[in-house]
């Protein structure tokens, strides 16, 4: 599905990703964790095609194509979806217009017919029910005046409508109370399938209690420094990130661990 090799990215001349490797196969759920500033969000934005990130080296292959050569809208139509950490408010563009335009474009690209108004509304209502969203939100401007939780649910709603092949969720759990977190997790789990891959970028382990990943990676200073199964997330929750940082000596790490468990 996705093969990232030695990816190097800089923002305003400052290196952020410094040789990142990651392979994601169809059906897998990967969690990418790491301290602030490690490059997690940069990775998410670069995969979606944000243009103020400069790729200085490496490659990203997605379903056999050079992902980095594609415009953001083509990536979306090819099945890449980014759930934004900070969903953007767009006054004057209603949720329903956005979804209609987006879904029609995606379907056309996949050689499917556009949905008629009736089919569209039916699908929409079904997905809104899944996300426990009030229907009135459909006619409101995109994210305008939405609470933090509503914004994040709206991201997952869009994902559910567009049915991506590769979903990248950027800190989708941040700013959510426990109820909203459960709804969001339900939405994500509903999309898990053998054909779909999910990358969850997160700072905390708590989303991973609800959406259990197949793999967990730790990102630090622009590189993946440790990979493991879901138990790695629990270990990080317990011990923090310090023990993994390059240069952290074993003693310090051990004592940090001891303190944390004491």
């Amino acid at each position: 599905m996705l093969e990232i090799k030695n990816l190097q990215v800089q923002v305003e001349q400052k290196p952020i990703l410094q040789g990142l490797d990651l392979t994601v196969n169809a059906g897998e759920v990967h969690a990418i964790m790491g301290p602030n500033g490690s490059g997690k969000s940069t990775l998410a934005q670069v995969l979606a095609g944000r243009d103020n990130y400069e790729v200085t080296g490496g490659s990203v292959e997605y379903l056999g194509k050079d992902l980095l050569a594609l415009a953001p809208e083509i990536r979306a139509r090819e099945g890449v979806f980014l759930a934004f950490q900070y969903p953007v408010e767009i006054p004057g563009v209603s949720n329903v217009y956005l979804l209609k335009a987006a879904l029609n474009n995606v379907r056309k690209h996949r050689g499917l017919q556009e949905l008629d108004a009736f089919e569209f509304m039916k699908l929409m209502k079904e997905k809104m029910k899944l996300m426990e969203m009030k229907q009135e939100l459909l006619y409101r401007s995109v994210n305008e005046g939405f609470s933090g939780g509503e914004k994040k649910r709206n991201e997952i709603l869009q994902m559910a409508m567009l049915e991506p092949k590769l979903a990248v969720l950027d800190e989708t759990d941040s700013g959510l109370d426990i109820d909203a977190l459960q709804i969001v997790a339900k939405g994500i789990n509903a999309l898990r399938s053998p054909e779909r891959s999910i990358i969850m970028v997160t700072h905390y382990q708590r989303l991973l209690d609800y959406v259990v990943p197949d793999f967990v990676h730790v990102l630090s200073k622009g590189k993946i420094i440790k990979s493991g199964g879901k138990e790695l997330a629990l270990e990080l929750e317990e011990r923090g990130y310090g023990w993994l940082e390059p240069g952290a000596d074993a003693n310090k790490a051990a004592s940090a661990g001891a303190r944390a468990t004491a």
């Binding site: 944000r50 809208e73 335009a101 567009l162």
Partner: protein, 444 residues
């Protein structure tokens, strides 16, 4: 000197046509015209050294030496086709059509009106029943130099008088169509609503393609106690035309004026929209939208005189500038001494679509009372990159994403238009102007 020459030329033009103007038998009108012309003779055309004209150079108008039309010169050829394209089914409401500045009864359609309402041609009124016009027509409130010229040269326009407690439910459409090049048209509209009266008036200006002409229009609005006038101006002049317009209201107690001014056409547009609260509890809404490109220039000057207490003014102007176009906004709000409990809010937002486009915006509040609530704000920006990327990340191509955002920006003014037929018409115009507009229309 250009301005001296052009001033002489304008004075000569007046001398040429003065005797053909309506109302030569009315001493008050002749005096009014002569006095207005004399003030113009003193001042000449404004230059960029005049503060109010700092960003709008009218020498291009002077250079063209447009001439006034006498009734005999006025030609109606081509008006039919233009009218068909603008308003094919003139069904709902009252339609007064003016061609090259003169009332065209054959093209107009008036529905039955409530008792006592006068609606018709200003020229006819000046010929047949001029007395009621006298107190209003030579009033100079808000007038610019171009307004003075309009008073001197005015030949026709609409005259509306709504008597006490009378409501005209259907909108009154005034269509000003220009088909000739090289001419100056001076429409004068006089809208008077007596106590408790209400009416909705839509002024629509258009010209045949590529005709180069000057429209110098003035509309006066007088609302007595509790009266209400809803006024719309849709400017779709030809791309080579010049459009200068004054809309000047004077309001009595608890009256309300709503003005929506939409500027789309013309090479150069200047609007001076003013109102004065002469008694307590007045309300005014000033909304505006300008969509310009190429080398178009659009200048909106507004002024609200809160001369009495407990008045409310809400102003909301938005503009989208593409190409090498230029926009000017100057919104003056003056809260006079003693005008306590004034509520005045003003905003002007500009969206620049190209590097060559320019805007000068200046909200201007002068407050001489202490118990007031006044706010103002102005912004100039480009399409938001975050919003654009968000839309693209959902599979919407860049051109469409940008169009959606421009549409959203402009639509914010259009949706404030209460007159449904006009709102829908503007929505269609907006779709037609936007790349991908047809697809946006399908989505909405």
């Amino acid at each position: 000197m250009m301005s001296l020459e052009s001033r002489e030329r304008t004075l000569a033009d007046y001398a040429r046509i003065a005797l053909t103007l309506p109302g030569t038998h009315l001493p008050w009108l002749v005096q009014g015209r002569n006095a207005a012309l004399e003030r113009f003779a003193q001042s000449g055309y404004p230059t960029v050294r005049d503060e109010d004209w700092k960003y709008t150079n009218v020498s291009r108008i002077e250079r063209q030496a447009f001439v006034a039309l006498t009734a005999a010169d006025a030609d109606v050829e081509g008006a039919d086709a233009l009218l068909q394209s603008l308003a094919p089914d003139r069904e709902a409401g009252h339609w007064l059509v003016f061609v090259n500045g003169r009332y065209a009864p054959a093209l107009s359609r008036l529905q039955p009106l409530p008792d006592g309402v006068v609606l018709g041609s200003l020229e006819q009124a000046l010929t047949q029943a001029p007395e009621p016009l006298q107190p209003y027509l030579i009033d100079r409130a808000g007038q610019t130099v171009f307004g003075e010229l309009n008073t001197a040269f005015m030949a026709d326009g609409a005259w509306l008088h709504v008597p006490r407690d009378t409501v005209i439910t259907q909108p009154i459409h005034l269509l000003f169509l220009t088909t000739q090049s090289g001419v100056a048209i001076y429409p004068r509209n006089l809208l008077v609503a007596e106590s408790g009266a209400r009416a909705t008036v839509v002024e629509h200006y258009a010209g045949v393609e590529n005709a180069a002409y000057l429209t110098n229009a003035v509309t006066q609005i007088f609302t007595a106690g509790n009266a209400s006038i809803e006024h719309y101006k849709l400017q779709q002049e030809s791309a080579q035309a010049f459009h200068i317009a004054g809309i000047h209201a004077q309001q009595k107690q608890d009256s309300s004026v709503e003005s929506h001014s939409i500027s789309l056409g013309a090479l150069l547009t200047r609007n001076d929209i003013t109102t004065r609260f002469d008694a307590t509890g007045c309300e005014v809404t000033l909304n505006g939208l300008y969509l310009v490109g190429g080398r178009q220039h659009v200048d909106n000057h507004t002024r609200v005189d809160h001369a009495s207490p407990s008045g409310t003014s809400n102003e909301y102007y938005r503009g989208v500038m593409d190409g090498a176009s230029r926009a000017v906004f100057n919104g003056k709000v003056i809260v006079h001494p003693g005008a306590q409990k004034t509520n005045a809010h003003q905003s002007n937002h500009n969206l620049l679509l190209s590097r060559e486009a320019e805007v000068d915006t200046k909200p201007q509040l002068e407050i001489y009372a202490d118990d007031v609530q006044c706010t103002h704000g102005a912004t100039i920006g480009q399409i938001d990159d975050e919003q654009r990327f968000y839309l693209r990340s959902r599979g919407i191509e860049d051109a469409m994403a940008q169009s959606l955002l421009v549409h959203a920006f402009a639509h914010d003014v259009i949706e404030r238009i209460r007159l449904q037929s006009l709102r829908q018409r503007l929505e269609q115009i907006l779709f037609a102007r936007l790349p991908q507009g047809e697809r946006i229309r399908e989505l909405t």
